[in-house]
Amino acid sequence: QQQVKQSPQSLIVQKGGIPIINCAYENTAFDYFPWYQQFPGKGPALLIAIRPDVSEKKEGRFTISFNKSAKQFSLHIMDSQPGDSATYFCAASASFEGAQKLVFGQGTRLTINP
């Protein structure tokens, strides 16, 4: 119930295309859904986040779509660039056993070809 399932595992898109990464969760206790971006040799860094009372959030070229009833959320990257090539992780946060915990998806390795 604490799992977050992410797909696809890898994705290759041409420059200018719109990659979409999907995540699904089971536990309705999750109340915060961030996306992290990770470049090779670096730790993940927060990219964008959404709360379940909002269906969409946009920051620059990055958009999160959230479907509370389906318990699914996705990341869309508009006008993708080679510099967006990275590994992306979705995550979900809630209080478990008295502590705030962040559960990550399995990650998506995104490649944007020039």
Partner: protein
């Protein structure tokens, strides 16, 4: 530059040896975390600490221990390393509630032979 420092950057360790991964943050964050990253499995929580003096178990705590003697330091110890502990280990911290950003170090790549 404020942030999280992890050491060593990488390490090759013989099975059965003891190893401590170091993590120091200078942001005065209350909560700190240790994750391991494995291909296809994402980031899995090993141990966490909500504040100095307290620790808790995450999703995959077996074979690992932590301590939190002060706010800044959160070392992770492998008492007797096994090959399945070969992974990239990330330390992270955050201030405040669950909707505050998690700050990560650059990781320690550990190979247990």
């Amino acid at each position: 530059i404020a942030g999280i420092t992890q050491a060593p950057t990488s390490q090759i360790l013989a099975a059965g040896r003891r190893m401590t991964l170091r993590c120091t943050q200078d942001m005065r964050h209350n909560a700190m975390y240790w994750y391991r990253q494995d291909l296809g499995l994402g980031l899995r929580l090993i141990h966490y600490s909500n504040t100095a003096g307290t620790t808790g178990k995450g999703e995959v705590p077996d074979g690992y221990s932590v301590s939190r003697a002060n706010t800044d330091d959160f070392p992770l110890t492998l008492a007797s390393a096994v090959p399945s502990q070969t992974s990239v280990y990330f330390c992270a911290s955050r201030q405040g509630p669950s909707n505050s950003p998690l700050h990560f170090g650059n990781g320690t790549r550990l190979t247990v032979t």
